[in-house]
Symmetry: C2
Subunit: 208 residues, 2 copies
């Protein structure tokens, strides 16, 4: 029995399509649980995927670089799922640059931001937010933001510009190291099938 942690939302449909192409058939489906022969999928928030793996209740998950680096978990990351690439960036009001002295930075990723500031030797006050981070400089809550951007549109709409790129965000297949030892055959066989499906799909698309 393989247990998978699937991130609800943006990646959900893509991941579920891949799973079905590996031959998985679901017999029972609810908003939080999909069950088939020898497989259970837990439908969770993207941020909760590592939690399900680290606590040993899921064997395999799908997870962005942003979540992996924010949560600092050590999971096996055998390969990527091809998705649009986004970036974690430092941004601020257009034309103002990076202010001298203490910087107030609003973000949904306080750990990532803390480490970034330390690497720069900056004195920072981090303001953790749950959402609408682009509002913070407009409201005067922060000087800068650290956030995810794909096209840069939301930043532009709010008169913000990218000041630095912190890292590139991809979607990783992640594996619980304990499952990798104790269920090795089942895990490896699933990962091989998944990788085949992904490669076949990419080839189709590049031919298409």
């Amino acid at each position: 029995m393989l247990k998978l942690a699937i991130p609800k939302g943006r990646l959900e449909e893509k991941v579920m399509t891949y799973l079905k192409k590996t031959g998985v058939i679901f017999e029972r489906e609810s908003s939080i649980l999909r069950e088939g022969k020898d497989i259970v999928c837990f439908m969770v928030r993207p941020f909760d995927v590592p939690t399900y793996l680290v606590h040993g209740v899921a064997d395999i998950g799908f997870c962005g670089t942003d979540v992996l680096l924010e949560k600092e978990t050590s999971l096996i990351q055998p390969f990527f799922i091809p998705t649009n690439i986004s970036r974690m960036v430092l941004a601020g009001p257009k034309g103002r640059g990076i202010p001298e002295g203490e910087k107030r930075i609003a973000t949904k990723f306080p750990n990532v931001t803390q480490r970034y500031c330390e690497s720069k030797g900056w004195h920072c006050r981090i303001i953790p937010l749950k959402g609408s981070v682009e509002l913070a400089p407009i409201a005067g809550l922060s000087d800068l933001i650290v956030d995810i951007t794909e096209t840069g549109r939301t930043l532009k709409e709010n008169n913000l510009e990218i000041l630095d790129e912190i890292f590139v965000i991809r979607t990783h297949v992640v594996v619980n190291p304990v499952s990798y030892r104790t269920k090795r055959e089942e895990v490896v066989s699933f990962l091989e099938k998944l990788q085949e499906v992904i490669e076949h799909d990419s080839n189709e698309q590049s031919r298409g």
Copy 2:
């Protein structure tokens, strides 16, 4: 100029309707910002409302008891907005009761849960999640959950039952104590108008 922090989502429409009834007219509206003469509304995540007040960029906000107790912020709470009352509860799989010894509790409210367990003298391991908390006992991630329930439907659907009520959740009008001193006249006049509108509305409804 009054600055308001409005929680996006479930309460947004109700709060905006009240505001309009106090005579506020918005001249510019975006998904994160609504501006009128002498008023700016920051449209933020419910959890971020206290952050905008504590950092002094908003004077008045609207916020559930759950958020106030989780964030442990000291804000002036002059009155409630009438909304459906929900409750923060301890719940677990039907018929199993509260397990002896160490309890694993999944929740979106780790601070509230920590204080609750301390008040009970329990030895707990808290598993912070971003969402789908009702899945945790099904997946074997936790024994119990601490979560918000209004009708109890989601709990029932997932074969969970309420084991204890931790507190009742209402929607509070909250005021930044600094604004209450430095902008007293403006703040008090707005609160009086808002309270009138709410009372008038409640009377209308009870006359129905």
